[in-house]
Symmetry: C2
């Protein structure tokens, strides 16, 4: 049995070390700036979950699972329906990702909050916890998720895995395991149960199943911790064993990315928040095109063609030439550039079926050529616009807005939150929800935030 063979030379007891760290880390062990980034992560996530709540993807998921829900103790953010904690975790994970507007750990392209916060907030509605304890568990879960992602990235992702799903389930299990007080051994079992539910493929990009991945990771990570608590055992070496998760799903395993400087350096503090509602690799292009529009005004109507020079991942992930739907538009750098030039928009409103098929945008999109350049930084782009009179304009974006070098300010997070949330629950409820979310660290019961996300509770949105 591989689970009991001697550890191969040089392989640390990764699962044990990580489980011990999860169990023993306290709020006081987390530096203030890391906690502050955790709060920004949570606020951004709440806005995205509410923003996505009215999407047809959420409707379809709810149609499927509503008849089978257990005790309806957990809120579907932004909606009046309630579900059992597993299904609420699933649906909130879906809605927070469906607009491709959530957070990003840039080193792995993991969207950290979806799997972790969705599981933990659903749990909090049956096992009350303070906002401070919630943030501690969430930060620990995100740290686990991103470190595990780092250990196998990029091979794991290149192979085809949607790493938000595959690494996310460990983050959800860690956060919930921390919150419910698992023992070190139970935490190791929870990682084993999480591993055996780890899945999600990049092939699903452009379909509803992409959003299913963080939702499923949330639901499954929650189940892993709940089962481990009940004594359901598992391998205690799920991550590093020869036939465990890392060797089976990747040809790269860098254990130092998991156990090195654990509790000293913080991946969770590197989280970033999307200014635009699509895959992060297109953001430099949208940023640059919006800058061009602001510079040239009506002259955008005189553009004859556009040439983009981008990081190779841009075309690999978002090379769709002829998108037909809003969802497909998120995977088209051509649509995104045309819409940014002609509408100045990269918010969810830029990725509706109507905008993606608007004749002027389609016409401009068809003139755009994109070239992959391996020397181009992921947060950069080079744009050359040629006008009908033969003149050209050159725009270089060194680091896009929302990248680690140009992080969104709290005010920009507020704006992003408000723009998407107000469309779903109205401006008044949005304002109260946003205020409450920023106060999370001081709440005696974090689930107040979940309840405040529903706009029609006797006209009183925020629990005050």
């Amino acid at each position: 049995m591989s689970g009991h063979q001697p550890t191969p030379d040089g392989t640390p007891m990764v699962t044990k070390i990580l489980a011990d760290w999860v169990v023993t880390t306290q709020t006081k062990d987390i530096p203030a700036e890391v906690r502050e980034e955790g709060l920004r992560t949570f606020v951004n996530w709440v806005g995205c979950a509410v923003g996505g709540a009215s999407h047809e993807t959420a409707d379809a998921a709810l149609r499927a699972v509503m008849p089978f829900s257990g005790p309806r103790s957990a809120t579907v953010l932004g909606r009046t329906e309630k579900l059992d904690i597993f299904h609420a975790a699933l649906v909130n994970g879906i809605t927070s990702h469906v607009l491709d507007y959530d957070d990003t750990h840039l080193k792995t392209i993991i969207h950290p909050a979806g799997p972790v916060a969705s599981a933990l907030l659903a749990l909090a509605e049956t096992r009350p916890m303070s906002g401070e304890d919630f943030l501690t568990a969430m930060i620990i879960g995100i740290e686990v998720e991103c470190r595990i992602g780092n250990s196998v990235y990029p091979h794991h992702y290149d192979r085809g895995w949607h790493i938000t799903g595959t690494a996310g389930v460990f983050g959800a299990a860690a956060a919930v395991g921390k919150a419910i007080g698992l023992s070190p051994q139970q935490m190791r079992w929870a990682f084993g149960l999480a591993a055996s539910q780890s899945s999600g493929f990049r092939e699903m990009f452009g379909t509803m199943t992409k959003s299913f991945h963080p939702g499923s990771a949330a639901k499954n990570g929650l189940l892993a911790a709940i089962m481990a608590e009940a004594g359901f055992d598992s391998s205690e070496r799920a991550l590093e064993a020869p036939r465990g998760w890392a060797f089976t799903t990747s040809d790269k395993q860098d254990w130092s990315e998991i156990v090195g400087d654990l509790g000293v350096t913080w991946e969770s503090a590197l989280n970033s928040y999307k200014p635009f509602a699509c895959g992060i690799v297109i953001h430099p292009t949208i940023d640059g095109c919006i800058q061009i529009r602001e510079e040239i005004g009506d002259k955008v109507n005189e553009i004859a063609s556009v040439a983009l020079t981008t990081h190779p991942l841009v075309l690999e992930l978002t090379g769709k030439r002829d998108p037909k739907t809003g969802l497909e538009g998120k995977f088209s750098v051509f649509h995104s550039a045309a819409c940014a030039l002609l509408r100045g928009d990269g918010a969810p409103t830029a990725f509706t079926d109507e905008i993606v098929t608007a004749p002027d945008i389609v016409a401009l999109r068809d003139t755009i050529i994109a070239t992959a350049d391996p020397t181009c930084h992921e947060a950069s782009v080079d744009i050359v616009v040629t006008f009908k009179d033969g003149t050209t304009l050159h725009k270089h974006v060194a680091r896009a807005i929302g990248s680690s070098d140009v992080p969104l300010t709290n005010e920009q997070i507020d704006t992003k939150f408000t723009v998407q949330s107000a469309l779903v629950i109205g401006e008044e409820a949005t304002k109260k929800l946003l205020e409450l979310a920023w106060k999370t660290a001081t709440l005696s019961d974090v689930s107040d935030v979940a309840r405040a996300s529903v706009h029609d509770v006797k006209g009183q949105a925020a629990a005050e």
Copy 2:
């Protein structure tokens, strides 16, 4: 987007072909001998699910999920608890596998019924179906599961995947999708949703999480079909796309194993049923040791040492030298051989904590040497016993009982069913359940079988 790239040269539209076949295949298209094997598969599965129902693994799973159950419409076979269909599928998938006594598709070592029958029978308790329709959907699901397994075996398995979990989820989705009448497109989506829940690692062998794999596959395949029915879309090329399931999880992809002779040759008819309650690779050894015991009687107490020559997979999977628990004993060819020689037993009673630590068995087990021989057939073993007086006995098993060349008779399936079921629900209820299970093809409501598996319903086990 990989989902819309041209199909690579030579790659057939595997997902589409398979989905079309699932949707269009009718009962009349399935040959009588395939249907007969399907019935044997179902009867064997029911016995195993009831037999495993009192195991501590089932207790732990139920402790975890009971508080979160939705409408309790589905039976946990062999127990009085009922659960919503997802959780019932999970627990029945666990119990039917926990004794390592279930069925085996020998070409892939998939245990086919667990994922498929567990999902389908749970569904049948909310969406009534005849026994005939049930068997048709179950056979189709098993066919899908085993063909998908064939397409990536052995690389996928060698890499570390527990193929019963990873391929099983597709079988469950296919069976449920057939039963609820998905359209061809919905069936393709269901395969996409199944892919993105496909998981399970060989590292978990020897722990409760091994049994979790078929249960999780049942639950997740059921969810895939239910979500597709609700309009939750997915890739329509989940199996064969460049970043889809087969390329991501395996370095081998043989599409002809999936689409070749579909509906002409039947993998589901190759199913086999374990005579012994442990990994199938040890079965030749147990068979041979029981034969030796029957030949030499009390002289088993005069054995000085035993030398086994086996297929290499035997030591890789069951090479545990020093098992401490019943569950670990299943992964020890050494314990299994000693117990077969000294007790003549390979049933679940041979794999209790007490038997695994019995001094005489431990003493004999320590004298056993096993040698891997790549030329040895998987269903064969060579055994040389050396007695204390220096004499030796040689036993060669060409093909073990339960292998495809020496299938269990229906009477042997009856005996196996009765031995394990009677311990859980008593002899009278077992007799009625067994009779009813053999009549499945004629039942107007297949869920009668589920209800008949519970022994204490007013002393009336079988629904007659």
